[in-house]
């Protein structure tokens, strides 16, 4: 079994940090790797670039969600204190071979699987609490199995007061720009409230490929990442795929009148030169609230990095204002980068 399994591409989940190597987005082009969408499907957690101190707890939570046997590889990054044993790669050239070797030794057992970083304790103690020992109280109360239940709230679409689900999403979700953490309140799959917890990292944008992936065209996304060598062929495939019809007109309209459809055209025809969107005081709330999940993800991925950071900075968010100094720092950094 282990022998067969070591022939398969290495399933890697990429946790992208600040200053991630430019090659990160193009890792999926390597046929000895599969870049998976969820930590549940990964054998190796690849940390690319520096994870800011505020996101290290998130990295540790992510790490513990991988199934055993698992390993972590840091790529151009310092291992965190808890993961000091992990493999570190500085040189770009041998990353793939390190990943392959690590996976083989995981399968053969010579590289022991990494233990949990977080304590093995439920979010709230529930065992033996309450009348049925499940930690709950009455119908809706308490923390059954460790967590409270969602409670009702008003909805602006159809007025039914059903449960609102609030959670932080990100920073290592494949459909979010790397680094972005949003607190979203959802009713069903419609976004009711948005606030920004952590700004996306500045860096080379791959919004075009991200959009294609969201539209269910991962193969074309890869082709775009490969570079615009076979231009005519690629353009024909894009046209035939019906992308224009798939993106609703007027979705995610920015003040200068550009919508997702228009930005998509520009991102795919000329990925090297994304034109800046004039953001003009628009916040994420103006763009995302009231959208269904898929539409919201399209909007979120249709901006170049700099505009998105500006939009996020415009979004009211209690957490960010507390760390104002930190965020200002990032802004300066971004200006420096570009």
């Amino acid at each position: 079994m282990a022998k067969l399994a070591s022939q398969a591409p290495v399933p890697v989940f990429v946790a992208q940090g600040d200053d991630a190597p430019a090659e990160t987005a193009r890792l999926c082009l390597n046929s000895t790797l599969t870049i998976v969408e969820t930590p549940r499907a990964a054998a190796i957690l690849l940390v690319a670039g520096t994870i800011p101190a505020s996101l290290i707890p998130n990295l540790h939570r992510l790490h513990d969600q991988l199934p055993h046997p698992r390993a972590t590889v840091f790529w151009q990054a310092e291992p965190t204190d808890l993961l000091s044993e992990a493999v570190t790669v500085r040189n770009d050239d041998n990353l793939v071979s390190v990943l392959t070797d690590t996976r083989s030794s995981l399968l053969s057992g010579s590289h022991g699987t990494e233990a949990d970083l977080l304590p093995d304790a439920p979010p709230n103690e529930w065992r033996g609490v309450g009348s049925h020992g499940q930690g709950g109280k009455g119908m809706m109360g308490g923390t059954p199995y460790g967590r409270p239940m969602a409670m009702t709230a008003a909805d602006f679409r159809d007025g039914l007061e059903l449960d609102a689900y609030t959670a932080d999403f990100g920073p290592f979700l494949p459909m979010f720009p790397p680094g972005l953490v949003l607190t979203l309140t959802l009713q069903g799959d419609v976004i009711q409230k948005v606030s920004v917890v952590h700004l996306p990292f500045a860096g080379e944008g791959n919004a075009g490929a991200a959009l294609l992936r969201l539209l269910g065209l991962p193969a074309l996304a890869k082709r775009l990442l490969r570079g615009p060598s076979d231009d005519a062929d690629f353009k024909r495939l894009i046209r035939l795929s019906g992308v224009r019809a798939a993106i609703p007109p007027g979705l995610g309209c920015a003040p200068n009148g550009s919508d997702v459809r228009e930005r998509f055209e520009r991102l795919t025809t000329d990925p090297g030169n994304p034109s800046k969107v004039h953001v003009d005081g628009v916040g994420l709330g103006d763009l995302l609230i009231g959208l269904e999940w898929h539409e919201a993800m399209l909007v979120l991925n249709s901006f170049d990095d700099e505009s998105l950071r500006a939009i996020c900075a415009n979004t009211s968010s209690p957490e960010l204002e507390e760390k104002n100094g930190d965020s200002m720092d990032h802004e300066g950094h971004a200006g420096h980068m570009s």
């Binding site: 079994m1 946790a15 969820t38 930590p39 549940r40 996101l55 998130n58 990295l59 939570r61 992510l62 513990d64 969600q65 199934p67 055993h68 046997p69 699987t113 949990d116 970083l117 977080l118 304590p119 093995d120 304790a121 439920p122 979010p123 059954p144 199995y145 460790g146 967590r147 409270p148 239940m149 969602a150 009702t152 909805d155 679409r157 159809d158 039914l160 059903l162 449960d163 689900y165 609030t166 959670a167 932080d168 999403f169 990100g170 920073p171 290592f172 979700l173 494949p174 979010f176 953490v181 009713q187 069903g188 799959d189 419609v190 269904e292």
Partner: protein
């Protein structure tokens, strides 16, 4: 009778196959799933509450219209069998039936039930 036996046999085999997959993947740590491993995937964030909720379905009116419309299928199946025998009469009758039901869909469309409410 054979149909029922086949269906149950296929069901049984599928359940066995899935169970077989689980047995085949028995690693040393398979049985002990720790609390941090059980946390639902949110890309590194910690959920505040259970995901199970009074989920706000955005298309519920559509489902009601769908259930009513789908009943028509139950009439269409026997109709299809005798269609050629009965000829134009059958065509006219089903045409009328479908027209009546289409009015319901048009009404729903006009009231905007195929949107995400």
């Amino acid at each position: 009778m054979t149909t029922l036996i086949t269906i149950f046999l296929v069901l049984g085999l599928s359940v066995l196959f899935t169970a077989g997959l689980r047995t085949a993947s028995g690693t040393d740590l398979a049985d002990h799933i720790t609390n941090p491993q059980q946390r639902p995937v949110l890309g590194g964030s910690d959920p505040k509450m259970h995901a199970w909720q009074r989920f706000h379905v955005r298309y519920y009116t559509m489902t009601l219209v769908f259930v009513a419309f789908e009943m028509e299928m139950m009439f269409m199946y026997p109709w299809a069998v005798v269609f050629v025998e009965e000829g134009p009469k059958a065509l006219a009758e089903m045409g009328m039936f479908l027209t009546i039901l289409s009015v319901g869909i048009l009404y729903g469309w006009r009231e905007g039930i195929f949107r995400w409410e």
